[in-house]
C-alpha cells in the first residue's frame, strides 16, 4: 500500500526528477520527431491537392469503382469507397486510411525501445543507480514519448492543413482536420504501449517490436477484409484498427476512442508493474531458442 501511495503521490522533489527524465528523454527523441514528422507533413502537402484531379475526373472514375469486386473494393474503403469523390472522403481514404499502419510501426518500434533499448545497451543500469525511482523513469519516458508523438502528429496536421489550403476545392477549418488525428494518436499510443508492455516480458526489444508490428499488419488486414468477408467480423473486434476512425472528419465517435484509450491504460499499468518487478538487464541477454536454429 505504501509503495502504491509513493507511486501516485509525488512531492516536489519527485516531480522535479520526473520532469528531468521527461525533458532529457524528449531531447533524445528530436531526430525521431524530425524523421517521422517531416515525411508525414510532406505526405499531406503532396497528397491532398490531388483531390482536385479526382473531382474533375469523377465521371470517368465512378463506373470503374462501382464495378470493382467487393474483395478488391475492401482495400480502398469497401462500401465507403465512393466517398473518395467528396473532400472528406478523399482525405479519409487517401490519407488517413494508411496512417495507423505507418504510425503503428513507429509506435511499435518506439514503445519497445522506450526502456528495453537502453536496457540492452546497458545505459539504464547506470541511470537507475542514481536517486530516481523506476516509476519516475517509467512515467518520464512514457510522457516524453507522448509529447514526441504529439509533435509528429502536429507536423502531420500542419502538412494536411497546407495540403487542404493548396487544394482549390477544399475548405475545412483546422479543428475539423484535427479530429481524425485524435484517433491516429489513440491507435499509435495503443501500439506503443502494447510493445512497451511486451518488452517488459519477452526476452528482447526486437522480439517485442516484431510481435507488435505483426499485430499492426494483421490488424490492418483483418479490419480491412472484414468489410468484404463476413466471417472475419468476429475477429475484427479484437483488432485495434477496428476502433480507428479514418473518417472522423465526418463525425468523431467518442465510444471507440474511449475503448481504445482504456485498453491502452491497462497495457500501461501492466508495463509499469512488469518494470517494477523485473531485474534490470545490462545487455541483450535472454532469448528464445528455436529448436531448428542452433548457434
Amino acid at each position: 500500500m505504501e509503495k502504491f501511495v509513493k507511486e501516485i503521490i509525488w512531492g516536489k522533489k519527485e516531480m522535479n526528477k520526473f520532469y528531468i527524465i521527461t525533458r532529457y528523454s524528449f531531447r533524445r527523441s528530436v531526430w525521431a520527431i524530425i524523421g517521422w514528422g517531416i515525411p508525414l507533413m510532406l505526405l499531406g502537402i503532396i497528397t491532398i491537392p490531388f483531390y482536385d484531379l479526382v473531382a474533375e475526373n469523377e465521371r470517368q472514375l465512378r463506373p470503374v469503382l462501382e464495378n470493382l469486386k467487393p474483395l478488391v473494393k475492401s482495400f480502398i474503403g469497401g462500401d465507403e469507397a465512393e466517398q473518395i469523390f467528396t473532400p472528406e472522403g478523399f482525405i479519409s481514404l487517401r490519407y488517413f486510411a494508411f496512417l495507423p499502419v505507418i504510425l503503428g510501426i513507429y509506435g511499435s518500434v518506439s514503445g519497445s525501445g522506450l526502456l528495453a533499448a537502453d536496457e540492452e545497451r546497458g545505459i539504464l543500469d547506470f541511470v537507475l543507480a542514481h536517486p530516481v525511482s523506476r516509476g519516475q523513469l517509467f512515467w518520464g519516458r512514457v510522457i516524453s514519448f507522448t509529447a514526441s508523438l504529439s509533435c509528429i502528429i502536429g507536423l502531420g496536421w500542419l502538412g494536411l492543413w497546407i495540403g487542404v489550403a493548396k487544394a482549390g476545392s477544399m475548405n475545412f477549418p483546422p479543428f475539423q482536420l484535427l479530429l481524425p488525428y485524435l484517433s491516429v494518436f489513440a491507435v499509435t499510443w495503443f501500439f506503443a504501449c502494447f510493445s512497451l508492455a511486451l518488452s517488459m516480458c519477452v526476452p528482447s526489444r526486437s522480439s517485442a517490436a516484431m510481435i507488435s508490428g505483426i499485430l499492426v499488419l494483421a490488424g490492418y488486414i483483418i479490419t480491412t477484409l472484414s468489410k468484404a468477408i463476413k466471417g472475419l467480423e468476429n475477429w475484427a473486434v479484437f483488432s485495434p484498427l477496428t476502433y480507428y476512425q479514418s473518417n472522423a472528419m465526418m463525425g468523431f465517435e467518442i465510444v471507440p476512442f474511449i475503448k481504445l484509450f482504456l485498453v491502452t491504460l491497462v497495457l500501461l499499468f501492466l508495463a509499469r508493474t512488469g518494470f517494477g518487478l523485473r531485474d534490470i538487464r545490462v545487455a541483450g541477454d535472454g532469448g528464445w531458442k528455436l529448436p531448428f536454429i542452433r548457434g
Binding site: N16, K17, F126, V127, H130, P131, R134, I280, V282
Partner: protein, 318 residues
C-alpha cells in the same frame, strides 16, 4: 546520513541470486564497516557485479537480505542511491551527447547544486577529460573517466566501484586510487570490486574473496597476507641432490621450484623456520631472500593455482 549511523555501511545476509539455472550468488554474508575501503576480489563471473547490483536494487535477490547505509534497497531504493556513488563494471553511456550534458543530467537527477557542478569540473581537470567532447568520440578509458566523475562528484557516503581502473592508463589509475584514499579520509566507505589485485592491496583495509558465488575468505588485507607462509629463495654455491631431499623431508616446507642448474631453490615455509636454517647451515649458501606472499598469491591459492603450480613443479623435478 543521519539515521542509524551505527549500522554497517553494507550488511549482506545469506544473499542468493540465480539467472535461470545458473546460481550466481550462493548465500553470501558480508559486512562492510563505515569508513573503510573494502576490496571485493574475484575473477570474472564470480558474482561481484551481481552482489553490487543487488545493493542498488537493480536486480532482486532470490533469497537473503541486503542493507545499505541502514536502509533496505528493495523497499527504499531511491534513499539508498541518494547516498551512493556507483561505477558499473561495463559503463555504457548515451553516445550522441557531450560529456558535459551527461554529467549535468546526472547531477540534476541527484539534485546536486553548484558544489557538485564545481567538483565535477575539478575532477574532469584532474582526470584530464575534455567535457566538451561527445561520448561517441571518447576512448574506453575516457568514457570510464566520465563514470568515475559521476560516481565521485556528489561526495557520496558510499562508493560502489566495480572495476574502477579498467581501461585507464597507469597514471590515471594512480589518480583514481588516490581519489579512493581521499574519500576514505573524508569518512566515506568504499566498496571496491576488482580482479587487479595490486590496486586492491594498495588501498583496501579489508578484503573479501568471492569464488563461484561464495565468499571464501574475508579479512584485513594485512592479516590476510601476514597469516600466510613465507616465501624463500635460496642460492647455493653448488648443486647437491642430497640437500633437496633433506629439505623436502622437513614438515611445513614446500619445495616450490628448482632452477635448471639445481643451485637455486624456491621454498614456501609454513612450518618451523629454525629447522630449515639448521639444514641450510650444512651447505655453502650464497644468498637467502625471504618475503610474505602478495595478495595475488593469496588470491590464486583460493583458485587452486598454487597447487597446480606445485604439481607441475614436482613433475618438472622428476
Amino acid at each position: 546520513m543521519n539515521d542509524k549511523e551505527s549500522d554497517p555501511a553494507i550488511h549482506v545476509n545469506n544473499l542468493s541470486k540465480s539467472y535461470g539455472s545458473f546460481l550466481a550468488l550462493k548465500g553470501i554474508d558480508l559486512i562492510v564497516n563505515r569508513g573503510e575501503v573494502f576490496g571485493f576480489l574475484g575473477p570474472n563471473g564470480a558474482g561481484k557485479t551481481t552482489a553490487i547490483r543487488c545493493m542498488l536494487d537493480l536486480i532482486r535477490p532470490d533469497a537473503g537480505t541486503v542493507s545499505v547505509l541502514g536502509k533496505d534497497p528493495q523497499s527504499d531504493p531511491v534513499a539508498v542511491r541518494e547516498y551512493c556513488g556507483y561505477l558499473p563494471g561495463e559503463l555504457r553511456l548515451d553516445e550522441n551527447i557531450s560529456v558535459n550534458s551527461v554529467l549535468e543530467f546526472l547531477r540534476e537527477l541527484r539534485g546536486g547544486g553548484e558544489n557538485c557542478h564545481i567538483r565535477a569540473k575539478e575532477l574532469a581537470d584532474r582526470l584530464d577529460l575534455n567535457v566538451k567532447s561527445k561520448i561517441k568520440n571518447l576512448s574506453k578509458g575516457n568514457k570510464q573517466k566520465v563514470g568515475i566523475i559521476a560516481a565521485f562528484m556528489h561526495c557520496p557516503d558510499l562508493l560502489l566501484l566495480d572495476e574502477p581502473t579498467s581501461g585507464l592508463d597507469p597514471l590515471i589509475q594512480q589518480t583514481v586510487l588516490e581519489m579512493v584514499k581521499e574519500s576514505r579520509r573524508s569518512g566515506a566507505t568504499v566498496f571496491f570490486s576488482s580482479h587487479v589485485l595490486a590496486e586492491v592491496q594498495a588501498v583496501a583495509d579489508r578484503v573479501a574473496i568471492i569464488r563461484e558465488g561464495q565468499i571464501v575468505e574475508v579479512g584485513e588485507t594485512s592479516s590476510l597476507l601476514s597469516g600466510r607462509a613465507w616465501k624463500m629463495k635460496v642460492m647455493f654455491a653448488e648443486n647437491t641432490v642430497m640437500r633437496t631431499e633433506e629439505i623436502e623431508a622437513l614438515s611445513g616446507i614446500l619445495l616450490d621450484e628448482v632452477s635448471s642448474d639445481g643451485r637455486e631453490l624456491k621454498l614456501i615455509v609454513d612450518g618451523e623456520m629454525d629447522e630449515l636454517i639448521k639444514v641450510l647451515a650444512g651447505y655453502h649458501v650464497e644468498s637467502i631472500e625471504t618475503g610474505r606472499p602478495d595478495l595475488e598469491e593469496v588470491f590464486l591459492s583460493y583458485y587452486g593455482k598454487v597447487r597446480e603450480r606445485d604439481h607441475l613443479g614436482k613433475k618438472g623435478n622428476e
